[in-house]
């Protein structure tokens, strides 16, 4: 163990955390935004839009990776357009890691946000309107605080999912040490190379990290459970 700690390249952990944080910030706002817009739709439109937004959760990450490549590959029009006009490149870059993690983690945030919003009593929104408040104020000052526990657990789950993303990441961002090799990619690489010790170390790191994230979530949301004690 001491040997590993002395010689290991920490860049995968650093990359994973950085990717996770950036992707989570993106999913947080876009997930809430999407959930809010979806709440305004009628039932048919809601079902269709919800299906599309939830797909990355149920599809294999490699399928998501395939679609991401289809869009962002430098041999495809949009990817080339981004590179030529904005100098943005997602294939084989850290930005690709973020994009892959974002796409995979997004449904978790979106679904949790939507479930949380659905729990908010509509009379709260109606009351806000009769009190002359703007829709914006109603949403951020009234709805979001009421939905906060659900939003918090959505955020934590997205973060946990984002730091562990593997399938879509390898396809879009590849496996470049110090650039796109996150912890989960590193595990696969080390095992393939026969370095079971290093792989095991990364496994331990990911297991502990995930455990603390989920435990933290339970502490946050546990405070708001009113009738949990009745089950014991």
């Amino acid at each position: 163990m001491g040997e590993i700690l002395r010689t290991i390249d920490w860049s995968p952990l650093y990359l994973s955390l950085k990717t996770g944080i950036v992707a989570t910030v993106l999913t947080f706002f876009l997930g809430i935004g999407a959930a809010r817009q979806i709440m305004k739709l009628n039932n048919t439109a809601k079902a269709i839009a919800d299906g599309i937004l939830t797909l990355p959760l149920v599809l294999p990450p490699t399928v998501a990776g395939f679609f991401l490549l289809l869009i962002f590959s430098l041999r495809r029009p949009f990817g080339r357009y981004l590179l030529e006009n904005f100098d943005i490149k997602l294939v084989q870059t850290w930005l690709g890691c973020v994009m892959a993690a974002f796409v995979i983690a997004f449904p978790l945030m979106y679904r949790n946000a939507r479930a949380a919003f659905e729990q908010v009593d509509v009379t709260m929104i109606q009351a806000g309107r009769t009190l002359g408040l703007s829709e914006r104020k109603i949403f951020w000052k009234i709805v979001v605080p009421i939905a906060a526990p659900g939003l918090a657990s959505g955020t934590v789950l997205s973060f946990a999912r984002a730091i562990g993303e593997y399938g879509a990441t390898t396809m879009l961002a590849g496996n470049i040490l110090g650039k796109t090799r996150t912890v989960s990619v590193a595990i696969a690489t080390e095992v393939t190379a026969g370095n079971w010790d290093t792989a095991g170390f990364w496994v331990l790191v990911i297991v502990l990290l995930s455990f603390f994230i989920v435990a933290a979530m339970n502490v946050i949301s546990g405070k708001n459970i009113k009738n949990g004690s009745g089950w014991a």
């Binding site: 009379t123 709260m124 109606q126 009351a127 009769t130 009190l131 408040l133 605080p145 009421i146």
Partner: protein
Amino acid sequence: MLEARIVKKFHGFQLDVEFKTDRGCMGILGASGCGKSMTLKCVAGIEKPDSGKIVHNGKVLFDSEKGINLPARERHVGYLFQNYALFPTMTVEENLRISLTGRDKEKRIQVLEQIQRFQLQGLEKRLPSQLSGGQQQRVALARMLLCKPEMILLDEPFSALDGFLKDTLQLEMLELLKEFSGDVLFVSHSRDEIYRFCDHMILLSNGESVVKGLTKEIFRKPLRVEAARLTGCKNISPIERISEYELYALDWGIKLKTAEPIEDSICYIGIRGHNLVPAANPEEENTMKISLAGSAHTTFQRQYLIQNAATLSSSKIWWIWEKKEYESEEMETIPLYLKFPKEDLLLLS
């Protein structure tokens, strides 16, 4: 001054009401699910009617023909929700403050004044869940009035409170409404509340306004069978007209003389339970020999279910007798005859 016509389809039936009110408190009485709350929500602008027109003090709030639908926030309407709709994550103070605009200092003064006016001192930092039902209602009222509404809508304001509290709070609200100069709409399924608060009222049944007018007048002379039921008349029977001043009550098996002429439109007769009086002489007008079918007692009333002794297939009739003394549960003897005083008979169409 509020003029409204609201047509809206929902829950498989059609709401179609039309009313007009000028100052003072107008009651909307109806059974659960008859469209009372929906009417109020349409006026407030949180539900949209399919068609109709709502005009308040000359300002068009809604007009389906002209395509006008003013958003709720621009209608200046105060709405007291059935569950009070206090924002659960905000303290009392924050709940009051949220609708205010302007400088922080001014806001603070306004909130402070309102807290004193509504006797909420000491509760400023509490969350709504830490308040009693009555306190929650006071906060909701205070919050609503801070917006300076031009019209107040009260949606079953007392249904979430228990009995003792209700009476006190009703008196408090009466005082408050006296100070308010605009229109007030008061929705309730309780005829007592409507009677107490509203000088005029409309009666809703199955989404339609059945009767409109002065509250006391409607309670005294409901005119329509739905109105009689909703104002608490338990005894109603279809009739056959015999002559201008005489009819036969089909369900009760009795001929009754009336004080007023029986018009062709009249098809029902009603009498309130407490208007029936014991009679000594069976030969008296409108008197029936009775047999007892059941009895139930509330704190201050004896309620008897009686029947025409002559025809046992006849419908049962409620007879209500106020207790003079709280202790005595049963009357020693049930009278043999009950009289239907003709001046108390309600002719209904």
